[in-house]
């Protein structure tokens, strides 16, 4: 098969993934709408909520959870997280999950075809970073979903993924091409792959962080009885999940920075040049370090710590969308 037809196939796969993920997003939104407390009796709603708190509470001790089958609309299931959910809600979530799997598969295919087309690791320009980052975000979500019920998170993962893909095809699209000499190194595979994976985990962490802050505000205001938020894990549980995601991401980012420094020494002669991209990687690292620190500091409110984590995520976005394009430096690989 010729490279141009591979290119077309890759693009078609990405567009199809976007279409499928849009439907997944709608399904997850429908799920949240349907679990929102309606006019059903409040007592049983509360009971459900309590149980969800318990099941959602195992952020890091995942070995205690059996694999959760998020999509199984098993009516006979008792005591499981799907229990006592309206049938329509369960169906919507099931559809969302199936579409997420399909969309992810299409995206993986898109990335794979792109790699086949350029005969190299598909991480050479912004379009490819965005594609692969979106792919890892979905894979991370799917992986985590097999360990705990995260159907309520679906909307908040699929939406940023779609935004990223949209920006990728509209703004950052670059025809496939070979790499410039300084990118030809196995460190590309190591450094950039881990970087995109990390950004994926940070993205999930930021989504959780926002949900936590909203939930916390609602709880402080006496609870949101009428909103779907009432069916999400408690603020406390959400905060722990936020932390869990960042605990995974922070060492990965540390590794990314170290690997980048090793590579910089090979390619540019010095392991640290305060190139804008390096500056921002450093800023991101210190901000997230501050988050972990703040969380461990007695007398610091968890809310404020999470705000720091969200500031870190803003830096991640700036580092990608702004620094790559507008700042003069050695990392001129945007392909734009």
């Amino acid at each position: 098969m010729t490279d141009t037809s591979l290119a077309q196939l890759s693009n078609q796969a990405v567009y199809s993934a976007m279409a499928v993920l849009t439907l997944a997003m709608l399904a997850y939104a429908l799920y949240l709408a349907r679990i929102a407390p309606g006019h059903a009796d409040d007592a049983s709603q509360e009971a459900v909520r309590e149980r969800r708190l318990v099941t959602a509470g195992n952020a890091t001790d995942a070995d205690q959870d059996g694999p959760v089958e998020p999509a199984a609309p098993d009516a006979a299931q008792t005591g499981g997280p799907g229990d006592a959910e309206p049938r329509g809600a369960r169906q919507a979530a099931g559809v969302g999950w199936a579409l997420t799997l399909l969309g992810t598969a299409l995206l993986v295919a898109g990335v794979g075809l792109r790699a086949a087309e350029v005969h190299r690791w598909p991480l050479g320009n912004m379009y490819e970073f965005a594609l692969v980052g979106a792919m890892f975000t979905l894979l991370g979500f799917i992986g985590w979903s097999t360990r705990r019920d995260l159907r309520w998170l679906g909307l908040f993962v699929v939406t940023p993924v779609l935004l990223t893909l949209g920006a990728a095809v509209v703004v950052w699209y670059t025809d496939a091409s070979e790499l410039m000499p300084s990118l030809k190194s196995y460190w590309l595979a190591i450094h950039v792959t881990v970087a995109t994976m990390t950004v994926a985990v940070f993205t999930i962490g930021a989504a959780l962080g926002v949900l936590y802050l909203v939930q916390d505000r609602l709880e402080a205001g006496g609870g949101a009885r009428r909103s779907f938020m009432a069916r999400l894990p408690s603020a406390r549980a959400l905060e722990r999940l936020t932390y869990a995601a960042h605990v995974v991401a922070f060492p990965m980012w540390t590794f990314t920075v170290i690997a980048g420094a090793i590579w910089a020494r090979q390619a540019w002669g010095s392991y640290w040049n305060w190139d804008p991209k390096e500056v921002w990687s450093f800023v991101i690292w210190t901000v997230y370090a501050a988050y972990l620190h703040a969380r461990a500091t007695t007398g610091w409110k968890r809310q404020n710590a999470v705000w720091i984590a969200l500031a870190g995520f803003v830096c991640v976005i700036l580092n990608f969308a702004v620094v790559n394009v507008y700042f003069v430096g050695q990392h001129s690989y945007s392909g734009l």
Partner: protein, 535 residues
């Protein structure tokens, strides 16, 4: 003490955070020593560390938005000319030298002082804890965060023994302070990892400082066929660290035998035409003892010499130019590097003929590997490789080096020179040469010949004696970080007492974890049910 957070694991009620800010409501009167102690406590508190960390991240940002002198001096100068009001003020404040500025240094130095002040006492405490026994079981286990009780088969001693085994196999350190309890603890590696992480950060800083003080870097432009000798005078630029003796360099030489350069010739997509694809320099390295060795230098594949690593960081063209006087005697002949200005290698340079008589001669202008000269953009190149090489020069006569001031080899200082007039004495003489062309200068000043083209390699030779320390420290920090975030510090206490009927025992197990540890409840349950027969 605010610097240790071990209180979270203590079985005592947590003491008030005395060291932290606002710990005490009514401040006692402090003497000078008291104030110092107070200041030290403030500095080494986690809040201060947190504040300094955030400050550090904010302070680093201007270095990415303003050009930095040490990275791109030309762009910095340009910025200063473009902003005559703000420029000098920002310059005074160190905005073009952020990472060497006093305020940036102040932040990270304070942070590291805080770090040492925080980590040193914690290390001491942790050292003692690691060698001491788990504390006595609290009187009332049911008050602990996680607690379970169960009545099981077997007499108390046997049951306690089984639990001891169970705890051991779960890698707890177990100690019996008396006949009816067990105290167990595990996860010391959490604090060890945390301490290693923080200490290793100091290692990173020391490594960076060491490299700065004892490292050097020098750049040299080397046309193919020429030899570079590693002595100070052969470098185009040389920047030694403050503790480096620049006369003490290993006297090796590098001859550049070939430079292979490849550019994209297919117009495959947006902006890819002419993009660089591959650079490879073949060189001969001759060490101080005269041993020769053929080596390659490529992007991402530097050459290690033992005294400096040679990086291939740039390349360009050095047209071979010969200037003769009126008698035909060669007064200049050299491969003269022209510096590339854009991605298509539109290159600028100068030819300085100091030996010309009666006035010195100078030529300045462009080398174009694939030249196009249009009225709008002037001479420029449209492809980086030599498809249609041209040399476009103007000529000057006069004094090349007024007052002997240092000047760039790529530009002419025309302060004391006058341009040679064009044909019919009008305007300025413009010389356009293709390889092999000779141009006769007016009024018997001789001639200039464009003999051919060499490529040059932009080599950068650098040492950094601190890099190993930095790397090892960084990896240690990463390892420590992972341990500190993954390992869980847990204490488990067991108490046994005879149940109502003989041969049965009531086991009470309580667990205490650092930070909120959702797994603790399951852990207690698992300990309780782990030993065979206790079900």
């Amino acid at each position: 003490m605010s610097t240790t957070r071990d209180d979270a694991l203590s079985t005592q009620p947590a003491p008030v955070d005395g060291g932290g800010a606002g710990g005490s409501v009514s401040q006692p009167r402090l003497g000078p020593v008291g104030w110092l102690r107070y200041a030290w406590r403030q500095l080494t508190s986690m809040r201060t560390a947190l504040f300094l960390l955030l400050l550090l991240s904010v302070a680093a940002i201007p270095g990415s938005t303003f050009p930095q002198r040490s990275i791109d001096a030309a762009r910095t100068a340009q910025w200063l000319t473009d902003h005559p009001t703000a420029g000098p003020i920002l310059d005074r404040l160190g905005f073009f030298e952020v990472y060497a500025s006093p305020w940036f240094a102040a932040i990270y130095l304070l942070l590291f002082v805080s770090l040492i002040g925080c980590v040193a006492p914690r290390s001491r405490i942790h050292w003692h804890q690691m060698r001491s026994r788990p504390p006595r079981a609290p009187r009332r286990l049911e008050r602990l965060a996680a607690h379970r009780e169960l009545e099981v088969e077997g007499d108390p001693d046997a049951v306690r023994e089984r639990l001891r085994q169970a705890l051991r196999s779960r890698r707890y350190r177990v100690h019996a302070h008396d006949g009816v309890t067990l105290s167990a603890e595990k996860g010391y590696l959490k604090e060890s990892g945390n301490l290693v992480f923080h200490l290793a950060l100091i290692g990173v800083l020391v490594g960076v400082a060491w490299g700065h003080l004892l490292g050097w870097k020098g750049d040299v432009i080397l046309p193919v066929g020429q030899t570079f000798a590693n002595t100070l005078s052969r470098y185009d630029t040389f920047s030694p660290g403050p503790w480096v003796d620049p006369t003490d360099l290993d006297p090796y030489t590098i001859r550049l035998d070939r430079l292979d350069v490849e550019f994209e010739t297919e117009d495959t997509g947006r902006g890819q035409f002419g993009a660089p694809r591959d650079f490879l320099a073949s060189a001969t390295l001759t060490d101080a003892e005269g041993r020769e060795e053929e080596r390659e230098i490529a992007v991402n594949r530097p050459l290690e010499t033992g005294n400096g690593t040679v990086f291939l960081l740039g390349n360009g063209y050095a047209p071979r130019i010969t200037v003769r006087d009126a008698d035909g005697t060669v007064i200049y002949s050299d491969a003269t590097p022209f510096l590339p200005e854009d991605n298509n290698y539109t290159s600028v340079g100068a030819v300085k003929v100091a030996g010309a008589q009666p006035d010195q001669l100078g030529f300045a202008g462009f080398f174009l590997p694939t030249g196009v000269i249009d009225d709008e953009r002037g001479p420029h190149s449209v492809f980086p490789d030599t498809l249609d090489p041209q040399l476009a020069l103007t000529a000057f006569q006069g004094t090349l080096f007024p007052a002997g001031a240092p000047q760039s080899v790529y530009t002419l200082d025309t302060a004391e020179m006058t341009p040679l007039p064009g044909k019919d004495g009008e305007g300025q003489l413009r010389i356009l040469l293709r390889p092999g062309d000779t141009f006769d200068l007016p009024e018997g000043r001789g001639s200039i010949t464009f003999d051919g083209i060499e490529r040059f390699a932009g080599l950068s030779i650098r040492t950094d004696p601190g890099k190993m320390l930095t790397l090892v420290s960084a990896l240690l920090a990463l390892g420590g970080l992972v341990l500190s975030l993954v390992v869980r510090r847990r204490r488990v206490f067991v108490r046994v007492r005879p149940a109502g009927e003989p041969g049965r025992t009531v086991v009470s197990v309580g667990g205490l974890a650092k930070d909120d540890d959702e797994g603790m409840d399951d852990e207690v349950a698992a300990v309780l049910t782990a030993p065979e027969g206790t079900r």
